[in-house]
């Protein structure tokens, strides 16, 4: 069986709950979702709403009736409560209202999207090149973060209901969800007075900056010259073996603080590393890292991720079918590994009129 089998969830989706509803569906809940009037593109629908029952809101009273009998309502409407759900949810229901901002603060009621919420998170300011505009992370991370928090709040409500016998209401701020993910910037300012800046792919610590991304023979790897003597010795040892260590052989890594080393010296050392990485493949570098503890990772392209033997063995990607069009897509399925999980439906359902929805029976 699945962990949440039989749990009736009504989701009113508009970005901020999409991932949360998807997580509950993956865990076995019976999620009925109402999509926004202006629907997201097909790939987003496939990614976030497969495994749910898509409900067309033919009758607002029918939506309200579903809300009244749901175990959980995930209400992610960004532009107000178009169905009047707040008035009809029962005392037994766990009603998670997700809004861009708090309900009573100075930003309450302001319009927002994933991009504008991510800009407010403090993460965009420090992402990208210093001479170019700040960058967002790929996809829609502010929505993803609020969605995961929505699933968390729903499951917390479920735990509380087991103990108290009562449902409850919760308010969740997508802005706060995004800010919570930024564990560095506000903290650094509070304790050091320093405001973080964009450094491209430089990792700046102390007086110097070290590279994080390196071209190699057939792609890119990520590795940094940090203050970890055993790691540095492991790297230099392979370079020595290949006759490529140069002056790196002479350095006493136990008594060298990279963070306090002049930038021009670091550049000289990094040039040796860069030449070595550029003349070897990702596979070679990854194998050395695994064997001797370099802390290097190969930077995978999306196709590499799909082709990963490791992720295949873990069964991460699953085929999903769009019932309406027959189109398929390969997207991540299981959230984690557990011996007690069954695979849920791998389809994007045809819309079912709210007035005709017969789920959650029995």
């Amino acid at each position: 069986m699945s962990m949440l089998a039989g749990l009736g969830v009504l989701e009113i989706a508009d970005g901020m709950t999409d991932v949360g509803g998807r997580m509950l569906a993956e865990l076995g809940a019976d999620v009925a979702v109402v999509l926004p009037e202006t629907q997201a593109n097909r790939t987003r629908r496939l990614a976030w709403h497969h495994g749910k029952t898509i409900i067309s809101p033919d009758d607002p009273d029918a939506i309200r009736a579903l809300a009244a009998k749901a175990d959980v309502v995930l209400d992610g409407q960004r532009e107000g409560d178009r169905f009047g759900l707040g008035e009809v949810v029962s005392d037994d229901t766990i009603y998670i209202r997700v809004s861009p901002f708090s309900t009573n603060g100075p930003y309450a009621g302001r319009p927002a999207t994933d991009l504008t919420l991510f800009a407010l998170s403090g993460l965009m300011h420090v992402t990208g090149d210093p001479k170019r505009p700040p960058l967002k992370f790929p996809g829609q991370q502010a929505y993803a973060l609020s969605g995961i928090q929505a699933a968390t709040a729903a499951l917390l409500g479920l735990q509380a209901r087991r103990r108290t016998g009562k449902g409850q209401r919760a308010d969740l701020s997508a802005f706060q969800s995004a800010v919570l993910s930024n564990y560095r910037e506000a903290l650094m300012y509070e304790w050091t007075g320093r405001i973080g800046r964009r450094h491209g792919n430089l990792l700046v610590r102390g007086k110097s900056g070290v590279r994080q991304v390196w071209p190699c023979k057939d792609g890119y790897v990520t590795w940094s010259m940090i203050d970890n003597p055993s790691m540095m010795r492991a790297v230099v040892s392979v370079l020595e073996e290949k006759g490529a260590a140069g002056e790196l052989s002479q350095i006493d890594w136990d008594n060298t603080l990279v963070a306090d080393t002049p930038q021009e010296t670091i550049e000289r050392w990094q040039a040796i590393i860069a030449d070595f990485f550029a003349s070897h493949t990702r596979e070679e570098l990854g194998a050395w890292s695994l064997k001797t503890g370099w802390g290097l990772s190969v930077i995978y392209s999306p196709q590499d991720v799909r082709d990963s033997e490791h992720l295949k063995a873990r069964g991460l990607f699953v085929e999903v079918v769009d019932e309406e069009t027959g189109a398929t897509a390969s997207v991540p399925g299981p959230l984690f590994h557990s011996a007690v999980m069954d695979a849920p439906r791998r389809t994007l359902s045809r819309p079912v009129p709210a007035s005709g929805f017969t789920g959650w029976e029995g």
Binding site: R22, G105, L158, M188, N201, P302, L311, H337
Partner: protein
Amino acid sequence: MGALDGLKIADFSWVGAGPRATKDLADNGATVIKIESRKRLDLGRMSPPFAGNPKDVDGSAFFAQTNTSKQSVTINLSDPRGIEIAKKLVAWADVVVENFGAGFMERIGLGHQALKEIKPNIILASVSVAGRTGPMAGFRGYGNSAAAHSGHAWLTGEAGSPPQMPPLAYGDVVAPMFLTVAILAALEHRARTGEGQHIDVSQIEPMVHVIADLYAQDEVEKTGNDDGDFIVHGVFPALGEDQWIAIAVENDVQAQALKRELGIANLDREAISTATSAHDKFSLFDRLAAAGVPAGPVLDGKNVLENPELAAAGHFVKLDHPVMGASNMPAPPYVLHGTPGKVERAPCLGEHNREVLIDMLGLDANHIETLISEGSLA
């Protein structure tokens, strides 16, 4: 009252990926006993920024914000007598959480099978870079490994640009959120069936999940800040050095409002940039919001800490700490009105040894004092 009052967690996790999940549980009322050691310090206790002396194990603000509402006991897990005490905590707990390297829990006699023998319905929650199965099981990563292995780094930035690493260990943020969900789902399963289980969360997989919409595309492309579903979707300069505002226009009504507010005829990037660069990012945010246009100033760390919306929402809770003094700690981004929970300060190292081991578990006080003095509980 918290949603998880009465829930008992034996938390062996350290640094970020485990502790952020157990913070979620602790802030919502669970009793979380953090098992740590002076012999093998949680690296989080040595992570900046520090309130004062970097060598003070109780002075890391990084550690404090990651471990709110928990209690700390020190147990030397390389000492068999320490392991025996750890087993007492397992017997007490509903959930055991760990993020050690592969095989460590088994080597010290606390693998899943051993835990089940102590408590048959225990939930063991593990989080690691690549998970506990598959060819990469046991892969030891640092910081941003999950960003590299998931496609995140490759997909960040403008088309044709090299990969861009995130500015923080984002995998250490997303994976613990999945771990929290997994633990709560496993608790529901146990409530229904009486069964515990072993949950295996990989840091790479959640990082793939949160970009599932990109993986659903036939050809995955990097698009910088662009999004083809929007009329306008970008970051534009504002008044001042390195000041920016994000604007996203979803429909014609918003498009007309943006033109009106900026006094421009066309929504091309240059026209918008020229107009926005004359305005303070916050006042422009106010104006565009009032006109119904989604916008957001690009906040820096100072802006976040001083943000009036976050202050009104109680996002940062000011807590007194014996070493750090009054410090801002992040609260959950939700309020459960029936069971709101409470954020409390992070523990000092071993602060609750006697309270937990003697008062709570009822172990012999003389025995515990002996183990403390002989380094088994250190």
